[in-house]
């Protein structure tokens, strides 16, 4: 039927430029020499004006990294990364800006194009009063701007690039850095420990409820550059913070490496809510280009009654290897993981979580929604474990997979380990397919192919979207529809 053919053509044409963040910014960059060596690490450390202990920490990590093997247990396949062929440090040539006026206008334009507000003035003047979000913008290897610093510091909240925190709050950083994800945790985390260049540092003092959402926006711009950011968030006793990260990168034919480490520490009665909207360039329809996203994220519910909640909407990256986890050390602590992972084209996702129950009466909840379209592969991999002393531990897990089309795959690999008899673990999993009959039904009522898919998918992910801060939920919903454009027809 001609109408069907037209639909297919239209969908194809959308598909080609569906990644609207694929533009490139041209500015003068300063880079380290290509590849990794002690000299490169010294160069990065010197650029950051780091104290001696930090350099020693990095060099130690590098030594250990050289003895480690890249993990191969994930259900992903890719050409080996040539670690000698990457720039580990790339930064805009202009010196770090003290105010927005000093930032390279090209960079400001970049963030404007991405819809990230770096001009807090406008927000304060009431142009968009409802959207009060403090942003740390990380461009390749460095943080280029952090907004609302003054207002936050009035509340005692520290929110700054981690490179600054290392200089200004060395005791805090020393105490917590690597305390959740040890230097030798895994190949990618160890590499990150050696070469990380920037990222955000957050400290919420006891009893403080952070007065606004904090967010970091990561942008990889430079060619052949890896991004190795490091985020450390500490919520002291009885405090609360909600944090959001977003990520994009230009379209390129080569694969680019992103190996981040995020550590969260929640002390007694503290709560951290960490949301991610990940939209790295996924590569083209034939699997050319795209970001390798090898990320270690872990939260430590160190204090009693503490709570850490991860919410992620993953639509980008050629390969995702990512398991945001919670260590439930404090008694009565709680961990949550809400995830939507969308894969289309040739994307490969291996993602999930670990809930490690160590304290008494600890609870955790996992809701994972995987949506696979195109020729993609989407794996949920999760571990729920209860230690001998974790009496009364409880977990509820629900993993649902939705398949669109017949060339994609969905896989669920749950591990459950319990070393005490009082633990209660529940696991539910479903796999479903958008049926042609459902599609036809929706179309008969007037919805286009795309609208019908979006509606059914949104129904599928609703429980997770509800966990995101309101404004981001709307963005995430749009993002999901865009990622799935061209997946039916």
């Amino acid at each position: 039927m001609p109408a069907v053919q037209e639909t297919i053509d239209r969908v194809r044409s959308i598909d080609l430029d569906q990644y609207k963040y694929g533009f490139e910014t041209t500015i003068e960059m300063e880079k380290s020499e290509k590849g990794i060596s002690e000299d490169v690490i010294r160069f990065i450390s010197a650029k950051k004006d780091e104290p001696e202990w930090m350099l020693a920490w990095r060099l130690d990590a590098y030594k250990r990294w050289q003895t480690m093997q890249e993990p191969d247990w994930a259900r992903v396949s890719y050409d080996k990364v040539d670690y000698k062929d990457i720039y580990y440090y790339a930064a805009p040539k202009r010196p770090a800006a003290m105010s927005l006026d000093e930032i390279d206008p090209e960079i400001l334009k970049t963030y404007e194009k991405l819809g990230i507000p770096l001009r807090e003035v406008e927000v304060l003047e009431g142009i968009a009063p409802e959207r009060r979000v403090a942003v740390d913008a990380v461009f390749d290897s460095v943080s280029v701007a952090t907004t609302f610093k003054a207002e936050l510091s009035k509340a005692g909240v520290i929110f700054m690039p981690i490179s600054e925190a290392i200089r200004e709050y060395p005791d805090l950083v020393k105490k917590y850095l690597g305390s959740v994800v040890p230097v030798t945790d895994n190949f990618f985390a160890t590499l990150n420990s050696a070469v990380f260049s920037d990222g955000s540092f957050v400290y919420i003092p006891p009893g403080v409820r952070c007065p606004m959402e904090l967010s970091t926006y990561f942008r990889i711009n430079e060619r052949d550059t890896g991004q190795f950011e490091r985020t450390l968030i500490i919520a002291d006793k009885g405090s609360y913070v909600s944090y959001l990260e977003g990520c994009t990168a230009p379209k390129r034919d080569d694969n680019q490496l992103h190996a981040a480490v995020v550590e969260l520490v929640a002390l007694d009665d503290a709560e951290i809510k960490y949301s991610t909207v990940q939209n790295w360039y996924p590569g083209d329809n034939d699997g050319k280009g795209g970001i390798y996203n090898f990320v270690t994220k872990r939260g430590d519910c160190r204090g009693a009654n503490s709570k850490i909640s991860w919410t992620q909407v993953e639509t980008g990256s050629a390969i995702t290897w990512k398991y945001p986890s919670c260590i439930l050390r404090g008694d009565n602590s709680r961990g949550e993981f809400y995830s939507i992972a969308v894969s289309n084209g040739m994307q490969q996702v291996d993602s999930g979580t670990k809930m490690i129950h160590l304290g008494k009466n600890t609870t955790s909840r996992i809701i994972s929604k995987g949506i696979s379209a195109g020729r993609s592969q989407n794996t949920y991999r999760g571990l729920v474990s209860a230690h001998r002393k974790a009496t009364g531990a409880r977990n509820f897990t629900n993993c649902d997979s939705l398949l669109i089309g017949d060339q994609c795959g969905a896989h669920t690999v749950p591990y459950i380990e319990s070393k005490n008899s009082s633990a209660q673990f529940e696991h539910e999993a479903t796999t479903s397919k958008i049926s042609e009959d459902q599609m036809f039904y929706c179309q008969q009522r007037g919805l286009s192919n795309e609208e019908a898919t979006a509606l059914i998918v949104n129904g599928f992910v609703r429980d997770v979207l509800q966990q995101l801060p309101m404004e981001f939920a709307v963005e995430a919903q749009k993002l999901i529809s865009i990622s799935l454009e061209g997946s039916v027809g």
């Binding site: 039927m1 009522r445 192919n449 129904g459």
Partner: protein
């Protein structure tokens, strides 16, 4: 007005409709009766544009325009509505969300503005009340966990909201008890109007006691073989389909 001319349709190389001709005038309620396997459901799916069917010949004109050239959603926007025999469940999608999305999609396709939320809610509440659909039901995911009767009432609610020009009811009476049949028929009768025509597909005369047709057609082996007024349905109920079954396999 709907005019079906020489409609010839196959599915998986098996010809189901064999040069079918049928006209339904504006404001007319036409019933189609016929034995199992005569092609009644195929006809309803081909009108609505389901993909699996191959149209070998013929045309379906809605007010002179051949809808066979259109995608299912385009047909819907131009006024074709099919009340499904087995309405589909859409998990996680609230009934109100679905109703609003479809209504606005059709309005957009016709170049009309979207309905404001208060106007939309008023419209739904008014129509729902007539069909004895309570607010609780509207809060649930579309058709998920609905009884057979609830699903059919939901179909008629959608019909009432979308205000189609041409409504096809595919065995809407199947699985309904007497009370549900009364409510559903009442809903359909309330929608009978000058510019709107209906094609009511059924096995049983019973439904036609409630929705009284202007014309009755008998279908067999993919063709209309006999037409008459409402008394034809009554005659069929008495004699059965035996005389129309010749050559049927099952």
């Amino acid at each position: 007005m709907i005019e079906i001319k020489n409609l010839t349709v196959a599915i998986e190389d098996k010809q189901i409709l064999n040069g079918l001709n049928l006209t339904v005038n504006d404001g007319e309620v036409a019933a189609i009766m016929g034995p199992n396997g005569s092609g009644k459901s195929t006809l309803s799916y081909v009108i609505a544009g389901k993909e699996d069917y191959e149209v070998l010949d013929g045309e379906i004109l809605l007010d002179g325009v051949n809808i066979l050239e259109m995608s299912p959603d385009e047909r819907a926007a131009s006024g074709v509505f099919l009340a499904f025999q087995y309405p589909l469940e859409i998990p996680g999608v609230g009934t109100m969300t679905f109703l609003k999305a479809t209504l606005n999609a059709q309005r957009r396709a016709r170049g009309e503005g979207e309905l404001s939320t208060p106007d939309f809610i008023r419209k739904v509440n008014g129509a729902a009340e007539k069909l004895e659909i309570n607010k609780e039901m509207l809060k649930r995911a579309l058709n998920v966990g609905f009884s057979g009767g609830e699903k059919k009432r939901m179909e008629i609610l959608q019909m009432a909201l979308l205000e189609p020009k041409f409504c096809v009811l595919d065995e809407t009476d199947s699985g309904l008890d007497i009370d549900a049949l009364r409510i559903v028929s009442g809903g359909v009768n309330a929608l009978r109007a000058q510019g709107r025509s209906f094609l009511v597909i059924t096995h049983y005369q019973r439904l036609l006691d409630y929705i009284v047709p202007d014309v009755v057609h008998v279908m067999s082996q993919g063709q209309i073989v006999k037409s008459g007024d409402k008394d034809l349905a009554k005659a069929l109920e008495a004699s059965g389909y035996a005389e129309y079954r010749t050559g049927e396999a099952a």
